[in-house]
């Protein structure tokens, strides 16, 4: 098991490196840098001034070197001009000797956001925790109901219950969040229908969560993921229900409830468990849309802001977090699969 975890971690780190490098490369393409120069320096810079600004701020170095600096495995650049040494790791006015040689993501230096004028790490921490709360409630709503729907539909394949639930779950996955979100807002919180049960914005949820201000965004994301997980669970459940050992259980005289609970459930949950974990990254997608739609200033909303305003450091920080989330959930799904399935459990 230890060896498996070790190997899993190594591949994970390698993947993370590759992915962040790609993002780094994309965000640091020349046009982006030029925009950066103009927004940081002066909007009316000439091409020559742009080049010298980039040069002075370490952006003219080779891509790999810059990536290394950002990551914190290569020493930060320094630049001596007019007797003043400036550098990546030298804060304005600080002495060269007091500054560290390396300063990158690994050292906890995530850069400065140009939009929010605050350290990226700080922004991400607060925003991510807000999104974490959102995701937590999404999971709380989505997983049990999806599994329940899947199990109920799959235990008697082809029954009326199955057909109804399957239609519902197909409909929910087929509806993108920006459609379902709008529909939900219109139906439950606008004066058009007049129900006005919930609030159409979640801005107030950032200070305190209530059922009223948080239910709609949670539901919007959950609905989308729910249909998919429910269908996977149903497929897995209906397959398990035709297995020989289910017949064995039935012919032992076990009641239908017992057959489902004791014999089918655990076997049927092995496949959806993986799916739930793999679903996580997709939900991040929904987070971007829903947070914007409900004006909930979490991680997704930040990402949109960063991208819209060419905030390179923030964008990079966000992508590191996203990559880590994806890889960790994948690893968890593998480990969970091993734990649930006694056949491949290793001693």
């Amino acid at each position: 098991m230890l060896k498996f975890l070790l190997r899993r971690t190594l591949t994970m780190v390698a993947t993370a490196l590759v992915l962040t490098f790609v993002v780094f490369w994309l965000t640091n393409l020349p046009p982006n840098l030029e925009k950066l120069a103009k927004s940081e320096g002066n909007a009316r810079m000439t091409d020559g001034e742009v080049i010298s600004w980039l040069d002075r701020n370490g952006h003219a170095q080779p891509l790999v070197k810059r990536y290394g600096e950002w990551l914190g495995v290569a020493p930060g650049w320094t630049d001596e001009r007019d007797g003043v040494t400036s550098g990546r790791c030298i804060a304005r006015g600080a002495a060269v000797e007091d500054s560290p040689r390396f300063c990158g993501v690994l050292q906890g230096y995530w850069g400065q956001s140009t939009v929010f004028k605050a350290p990226v790490s700080e922004i991400i921490a607060t925003r991510l925790s807000l999104t974490g709360i959102l995701m937590f409630w999404v999971m709380v709503l989505m997983v049990p109901s999806a599994l329940l729907i899947g199990i109920l539909a799959g235990m008697r394949e082809g029954s009326k219950l199955d057909r109804t639930l399957s239609t519902v779950s197909i409909a929910t996955t087929a509806t993108p969040e920006y459609v379902s979100g709008v529909i939900l807002i219109v139906v439950f919180s606008s004066s058009m229908v007049g129900l006005k049960w919930f609030k159409g914005t979640a801005t107030s949820a950032m200070d305190g969560i209530t059922f009223e201000n948080f239910f709609l965004p949670v539901l919007t994301i959950a609905l989308y993921g729910m249909g998919y997980i429910a269908r996977m669970t149903r497929a897995s459940m209906s397959e398990v229900m035709t297995a020989q050992y289910i017949r064995t259980a039935r012919l032992k005289g076990a009641s239908f409830g017992r057959v489902v609970m004791r014999h089918a459930l655990r076997n049927a949950l092995i496949a959806p468990f993986t799916v739930i974990m793999l679903q996580f990254p997709w939900l991040l997608n929904g987070v971007v849309i829903v947070e914007t739609l409900f004006n909930f200033k979490g991680f997704g909303w930040t990402l949109v802001e960063a991208a819209g305003n060419n905030d390179i450091q923030l964008l990079l920080g966000c992508s590191v977090v996203a990559v880590v989330v994806v890889l960790v959930t994948q690893a968890m799904s593998d480990v969970g699969y091993v734990l649930l399935n006694p056949r491949i459990r290793v001693s």
Binding site: R7, L251, G253, R266, N267, R343
Partner: protein
């Protein structure tokens, strides 16, 4: 006792249909049978005749599209067909228990063995968990599994096939049912394991007075286990009666034909040639009018057999012996079968293929989740044999003994780890098939076990044979190859129209004929046939076997016939090679191998094969335990963990030293430490009473 008078199970005029979107499939029609207390009833018939459907009908577990359309099933006088769910649940597991084919699939992979066992009395008798586990432990001991505590805590996948089947049996017996239904309980198991399971089932049923409904297509097995027999054909019972009575005085043409198509010991090719049943089994919706067996029956009389539904008639004079044949009293049942022209055995020629000290080791990868070092699986250890032109060498042994690995090495699908394979003087053991030239490929061909997997479903039969000819570079023009293809179809006795058919339009036996045609397309010198008939129905097996032998005789091909069916092996082979755990333990002519002195393993193997002939008495040697894993073979003699002769060998020779393949006489060689004198004390396993 009045109790003895009421049958445990009484099925009357039972009809069961499956409903598909397009039509109703009548799987069982007008089926009747009666099982008395303590009696074992055998249900035999070819695949698809409705045996399992009857069994599931009794359990009322026919799935969503199956329905009982008529008749009654009475269990201890209560009609099962009209019972409610609750009442049924009380019956299942407690009064009637069922065991079916694949043991691994019948156990829940995510539940410990003990929990699955203990569940039965917990459901039915509401006893405490501790009591239920205690009972489970007792029953695990009853089914003769070693170390019951460990077994109870094990997951199903940690047990071997034989052990799993014992657990399934234990589960069925947990609540002491009065009726046990066994649907092909041992088909997936090796013969020596099967023998142990069958013994166990019989003993336990006797001990608890359990009645049994025993379903099998193996007539010998039914003879071993059952008191009474019911032969089914196409959804109907065609003959019922006492087992010995039916086996010695069969009164239905189908039963007779079935017996004539399986090889029995004590009769050789010329005295009792196999007779295949002509034609095919009718599909349930294509049954002929009148007698279902009519189109394939030698005694068919138009106007009578196809005029009306044939009723069950008393037969043979013995009580409770019935036959569904309208001519039961007219047919001369003792008339010998029409003899097919028997061919003179061909004298073997010079040595064509030879293996010497051949070894094949596999290195198993440590697996996705790591853990431990790579293991070496010794699939073939020290294989020595040679085969001559026109000779049939049978290779027998249980699953995992390395038969198929040997075939793969010969065919070049694997390369040998050590040793040599010589074909016509050339060493080929290191030549993988892609490096073999067309001449070599065409002269060394294979017929596979499963005719379903080896044909390309989207190509016509003709095109596939022509493709083989092209690969072998035979024929110089398309027209020439076409002509040769038609000749090959003639050779395997398929109509020439079949050239334009797709594989799915063919039956299993016909597909296997195409496989044979392809193998012989390049006038192969050596053909390796890996279980060529074991996927086919008994009535078809005989025809395919005969065909294979006929072509072999004509072409003087060397046939390496891999099989676990000792009946067929004895019938058709000239020499036999017995394998165990990758070793050749005995080799010799068929007569030498099948009569004493044997290698101790051969002796056990022969005694494990059930024989469907009441005149044959068979010594039973039930081997203890399972075959050791090839990954972890025992030191010394490979058979030492199960050998009953071992105590005769002085010291720990058997445990420490691998015996030599010692020459006894002529070409008869045995890998055993027993001395000639000790071997000479061995008795025959099978004796045929004269008369």
């Amino acid at each position: 006792m009045t109790d003895a008078q009421t049958p445990i199970l009484e099925i009357e005029n039972l009809s069961i249909s499956f409903f598909t979107r397009t039509r109703e499939i009548p799987a069982v029609m007008d089926f009747s049978c009666k099982v008395m207390p303590g009696e074992a009833m055998g249900l035999v018939g070819e695949s698809g005749c409705g045996k399992s459907t009857v069994a599931l009908g009794v359990m009322r577990d026919l799935g969503r599209n199956g329905r009982i359309t008529g008749g009654s099933i009475r269990f201890k006088g209560r009609d099962i067909t009209t019972m409610g769910e609750r009442e049924l649940r009380g019956l299942r597991g407690r009064e009637i228990a069922m065991i079916y084919q694949e043991p691994m699939a019948s156990l829940n992979p995510a539940m410990k063995v003990g929990a699955q066992l203990a569940e039965v009395p917990m459901i039915h008798e509401k006893i405490s968990k501790a009591d239920a586990w205690a009972r489970a432990r007792a029953i695990v001991e009853d089914v003769r599994l070693p170390d019951p505590d460990r077994i109870l805590q094990a997951w199903p996948h940690q047990l071997s096939g034989g052990q799993q089947q014992r657990i399934v049996i234990a589960m069925a017996l947990m609540s002491r049912p009065s009726l046990l239904i066994l649907d092909e309980p041992t088909t997936a198991l090796d013969v020596t394991v099967e023998a142990g399971i069958v013994d166990l089932v019989r003993d336990l049923a006797e001990k608890h007075g359990t009645s049994m409904l025993f379903i099998s297509h193996n007539l010998g097995l039914v003879m071993d286990v059952c008191d009474r027999l019911c032969v089914m054909y196409s959804g109907e019972a065609v003959e019922t009666g006492d087992v010995v009575e039916v086996f010695s005085e069969m009164r239905h043409p189908y039963t007779q034909a079935l017996f004539r198509s399986i090889p029995l010991p004590g009769a050789d090719k010329s005295a009792r040639p196999l007779v295949a049943i002509p034609g095919n089994f009718p599909l349930p919706h294509e049954r002929p009018p009148g007698c279902n067996f009519g189109p394939r029956c030698d005694y068919f009389v138009a106007g009578r057999c196809d005029a009306q539904e044939i009723p069950m008639l008393p037969a043979g004079g013995a009580p409770r012996h019935n036959s569904r044949c309208i001519r039961v009293d007219e047919i001369d049942w003792n008339a010998p079968p029409a003899l097919a022209a028997t061919a003179e055995p061909t004298p073997p020629g010079e040595v064509v293929i030879e293996a010497s000290d051949l070894r094949k080791y596999y290195e198993t990868s440590p697996g996705m989740f790591g853990g431990g070092t790579a293991k070496i699986v010794k699939a073939n250890e020290q294989i020595d044999f040679s085969a001559r032109a026109g000779e049939t060498l049978a290779i027998v042994g249980e699953s995992g003994c390395g038969k198929s690995t040997l075939a793969k090495v010969l065919m070049g699908l694997e390369v040998a780890s050590a040793g040599t394979v010589t074909l016509n003087g050339d060493q080929i053991q290191q030549l993988p098939v892609e490096k073999r030239g067309p001449a070599l490929i065409s002269s060394l061909q294979m017929v596979f076990q499963n005719p379903f997997d080896t044909l390309n479903p989207s190509m016509t039969i003709g095109a596939q044979i022509i493709r083989a000819l092209e690969i072998f570079q035979i024929g110089d023009s398309a027209a020439d190859r076409h002509e040769r293809m038609l000749n090959l179809l003639d050779l395997v006795k398929l109509p020439r129209e079949f050239a334009t058919r797709k594989p799915r339009q063919l039956s299993g036996g016909q597909k296997q004929r195409v496989g044979i045609a392809r193998a012989f397309a390049g006038e192969a010198k050596v053909v390796v046939a890996d279980e060529p008939v074991s996927a086919l129905d008994v009535s078809v097996q005989a025809a395919v076997t005969d065909l294979l032998m006929e072509i072999q005789r004509k072409n003087r091909t060397t046939l390496l016939f891999i099989s676990h069916d000792l009946g067929i092996v004895r019938y058709l082979s000239d020499r036999v090679l017995v394998m165990y755990l990758g070793h050749v333990v005995e080799i010799g002519t068929t007569a030498e191998v099948f009569s004493p002195p044997f290698h101790p393993y051969t002796e056990a193997l022969l005694s494990a094969v059930p024989v469907a002939d009441p005149r044959v008495t068979r010594k039973r040697i039930v081997l203890q335990g399972d075959i050791p894993s090839a990954m972890n073979p025992p030191p010394g003699c490979p058979f030492q963990t199960r050998c009953r002769w071992k105590p005769l060998v002085p010291g720990d020779l058997c445990e420490t030293v691998v015996p030599d393949l010692r020459r006894l006489s002529g070409g008869h060689r045995v890998k055993c430490h027993l001395t000639d004198e000790q071997l000479a004390t061995m008795e025959p396993v099978i004796e045929v009473a004269v008369g």
